[in-house]
Symmetry: C3
Subunit: 281 residues, 3 copies
Amino acid sequence: MKTTGFKTFKVAEKEGQAWVTFDNPPVNIQDIPMIKELDDLAASLEDDRSIKVVVFQSAHPEIFIAHADTNFLKEMSTKAVTREDIELLDLQKVLQRISKLPQITVSKIEGFARGGGHEFALATDMRFAARGKAVFMQMEVGMGILPCGGGSSRMARQIGLGRALEVILSAKDFDADQAEAYGLINRALDADKIGAFVEDLVNRMSQFNSDAIEAAKRTVYASIDLPIEEALKEEAYWLYQATSKSPAIKRFTMADDTGFQNDIENQRNFETLLMGLQGVN
Amino acid sequence: MKTTGFKTFKVAEKEGQAWVTFDNPPVNIQDIPMIKELDDLAASLEDDRSIKVVVFQSAHPEIFIAHADTNFLKEMSTKAVTREDIELLDLQKVLQRISKLPQITVSKIEGFARGGGHEFALATDMRFAARGKAVFMQMEVGMGILPCGGGSSRMARQIGLGRALEVILSAKDFDADQAEAYGLINRALDADKIGAFVEDLVNRMSQFNSDAIEAAKRTVYASIDLPIEEALKEEAYWLYQATSKSPAIKRFTMADDTGFQNDIENQRNFETLLMGLQGVN
Amino acid sequence: MKTTGFKTFKVAEKEGQAWVTFDNPPVNIQDIPMIKELDDLAASLEDDRSIKVVVFQSAHPEIFIAHADTNFLKEMSTKAVTREDIELLDLQKVLQRISKLPQITVSKIEGFARGGGHEFALATDMRFAARGKAVFMQMEVGMGILPCGGGSSRMARQIGLGRALEVILSAKDFDADQAEAYGLINRALDADKIGAFVEDLVNRMSQFNSDAIEAAKRTVYASIDLPIEEALKEEAYWLYQATSKSPAIKRFTMADDTGFQNDIENQRNFETLLMGLQGVN
């Protein structure tokens, strides 16, 4: 994958992992160069299946991503359009592309993530935030618009309708614990623990088979857009996509041959034993 | 808006806010006059965009809204109808009309909210409840029916499938803390704090632009009924509806001109700075 | 209903309740005989509306259901198929049949529930788990597949998108408290309290009218697969299905005639009074 030439973030590659560190002084504003570079990054990741997990973090001590740049927002069209003439906005397109990456995407949030910055995080698969550092807000209604980087569309998919409406209509700050209580983030972690937690999780997930990762991810996203009977078909479809490429049969055979499953001691140690199968390809 | 002539509640108007206080002795039963008056109230609110936020509360020390009146429920039809012949019930229609108001609707719950009373709260945008006072229940399955004021339809949109099934199939009381844990309400608050909390929130939200409020609300509700790609289009559609009418461009320009966004101190004070823009119209 | 002849679980019938106890040594593996017997059990329950609630528990001190049998998984097809040619897998079909039972289904989880074992629990209406005993995991991505017993389809319907992706993509153990915090289970309970809790709940629910139970269950499941306007119609449809068969009118009439609803003392005691109506048929 492409790791150099980006100006708004740095990319470090490491055994199946890409660590993307936002660094766009002075406040990590989500400007047009950042949006453009995220699109380039996504294109590069789509073509590199050796990367299994992408982590997004920030070099700024107080800010994850600030929010969309008012410099381009003030040029926004004020012409009402019909539903037929609607095209997605550039920010929506890029964040949807991030959301659809075949890799697992993780936001590690240790500062302000407001507006488009929070919408970016919502477009990743999972979010972990540091207590005492992370601060979230959707301020758009206070500016006279609505969250339009996918935030209005993705919020209720995470936290239910009532809390999504409160977050968006109140335009108030909330911290990591409140975000965890509402379900906007997966977990709030102490500021001195979030680094090790995310690293352990990413080290685990980046050992998994890339076809299985993609199959699971596609199915879960599809599941909330489809009636259950259709979702189940999608699940079966992606199962066969996975088995046609992954080492699943070899792993099941090895697990079966070694009596892996019928021993209570093995059941107790399943979490560890599973990692032992990652060498079976 | 119409503030007089209602017999089952009182309405007080105050700078962009309507405070509706249920007062239908002896127990705030949800009877036909109340349902009819809620329909009139909704019609009046649809025509008055100067109101931004509507708060629903109760004058009764122990009851928010009790439940639907058994006096009309006992007249209910017992004829099974085909899906083709289904028409929405009056209670469903009125609560759906409340749910679709262009204003932000808030339930401030300091007593029993069972059956249709709880379904009323579920039809509002957000719910705050007082510890030690609020008590919730859907009792309908115990009566031989199901929650039919939208409760069966709206419950899983708030709290997920498993907890929605438990609430409806168990017909048990649960308190504010349990309602918060399950996500049925936005927050549980101490009984002596809920008044100030709701007032502060409403004072903030009622300063926001009415077109932005409507655009955000329409998009969030649409988002859970649409596949993500369609939801994103709806989000873009409502963005242009908002910018065509709201002072968004002026506010972005002012924020940009004053260097608002690139200063860490401003980022720290964003929640307050945002309110300073509310005068820019 | 059929209570004898099962080899992988035992069935005890008791006043409107069926208690199903998994007992498939050595580790309650989800093998083909168990899947086949669950299908037989479901068929038997569909034909016996005297049963209102079905509880699933385990005879094994450490295991609820272990996971799907690697012995048949290793025979899995590795042929990618097109979406048009997809048929549901046997496990998907049986668990979907369980999910659609007219009865209330409850999982009482006091041990490992991983993979297909957890997917079984997700196919029941509600889940209660014992602290210090219940352990959950979806390990499939670590094997090279994805949860394909409905787990990938049902997870986000319970806990939102971000946490569903974490559970499935991390393939890690999590305990009852974490499952409760994420919303995967209804509640975590102390190991010495879960028995009485589930028994009380089941004793309450099994007194309710079977047509009301079915109507409520059908509507709640439909509600998350339909846009709100369609969901409300389904709710009205099932209301009339219930009133055409249940004793609802008699109960409303009795409640109304006895002044049940307009007395504050009755409102305070509603939870108990409701059970007094269960004899009115």
